[in-house]
Symmetry: C2
Subunit: 232 residues, 2 copies
Amino acid sequence: MARPEIEEIRELPLFADMRDESFEALTRGAYVQNFPPLIELIREGDPADFLHIIIEGNVELFAEWNNRETTMATVRPISTFILAATIKDGPYLMSARTLEKSRIILLPSLDVRTVFENDAKFAQAIVLELAQCYRGVVKSSKNLKLRTSVERLANYLIRQHGYQGHPEVFQLQVDKKRLAALLGMTPENLSRAFKTLGNYGVAVDGAQIHISNTHDLHQFAKPSKLIDDYSC
Amino acid sequence: MARPEIEEIRELPLFADMRDESFEALTRGAYVQNFPPLIELIREGDPADFLHIIIEGNVELFAEWNNRETTMATVRPISTFILAATIKDGPYLMSARTLEKSRIILLPSLDVRTVFENDAKFAQAIVLELAQCYRGVVKSSKNLKLRTSVERLANYLIRQHGYQGHPEVFQLQVDKKRLAALLGMTPENLSRAFKTLGNYGVAVDGAQIHISNTHDLHQFAKPSKLIDDYSC
DNA sequence: CTAGACTCTTGATAAATATCAAGTCATAAC
DNA sequence: GTTATGACTTGATATTTATCAAGAGTCTAG
């Protein structure tokens, strides 16, 4: 069976150290699927039948309550999502939809749990992955509770700026409606927040961001390793 | 060595299935300590030298940024806290302080990581614990992003009411200043939020809450398994 | 018992954020 | 080309939440 995508994930930290037979058992029942944009992959509340791994594209994790919807995160290759639900055999807490044409691997949750019980290296890798995810959500919670919306935007821009290698001009990776939801504000207020950041050397043209005064922006945003550094 | 507290945690899900020798290795360097109220146990940013287990008392997890402080959670016996930092060998993301006189077990992080690498059952237990914690934070994030402060309070009361067995009258387990921070609002607005909930059959007298109309309160609060049920 | 500290509440006001209603601009459809 | 459609912005306004100031009540140290 030639499944290059499956071989590709073998090198992910989550799968790199596991035994060959475990990897084989894990991927035997796997699907690789291509989805067009705006397809709902997962609906919150449903049982977690598959662990998802995004190989190509862009996926939004979102949640709903009482007719309100918010974006929780966007996921880019190569990463897994909804690992905790798979492990706990619980319902999904978030829904997921493709934002772009995306290629996704689906591993049956049952297989993930079985292999997890029989391959210590895999269990260890899952621990590290989950700990990372956990710390990510804690940081995002701190961001929400300790900062105003303009401060959240400023720090988001600084982070993106960093990921993209500190170029003078860079592109937003999400449309502004979703960015607003991700940052916990309305699209209208996102527009106004961008305007406010104009005072600190941020210029916006469509999805293009120009940062002319890193110093002022940092002074205002006060980025912190314990909130904004997703690698620590 | 007679250390009844250590034996006590042996039955916790996190330690129940591990080998005796692993448990022995894990607890050999453990401390059991009593702390008075309002002692800072952990400061965010410090290296995670110990995994903490609260045996008695009450501990607040909080975070700071730019001279603002917020309560992230309160922890009651018997639970661990700061597991993810221990595993990742990363800095603490939250600070911790005792709220009451508390008894705490400290397990050296190094031992936790060593045993975690050598005892598959322990690794599996950590996975389940971390998955649980992760889902807890995701729920709390949804709570913050999707609900207004009054809605958060209403759902908090319904949850506490449930934990305490649905008595007509029950006690808040945290002082109101901290409850406000936990729910992401100011103490002043917590007072006003309680008043608003008076319209839905909630009466407050100090720390004592009287719920006279469960139906109205539920109608207003719209509790959801995917946000408020911490066991799923 | 009393002074002081503390928690909590209340009222007045300010700031932050959301909503509603147009309007602009670009793109896609016909 | 013209007409929709959608994304974004802007202004006016409303709602939510925070801040500031003061007062009521409770607890505790002396």
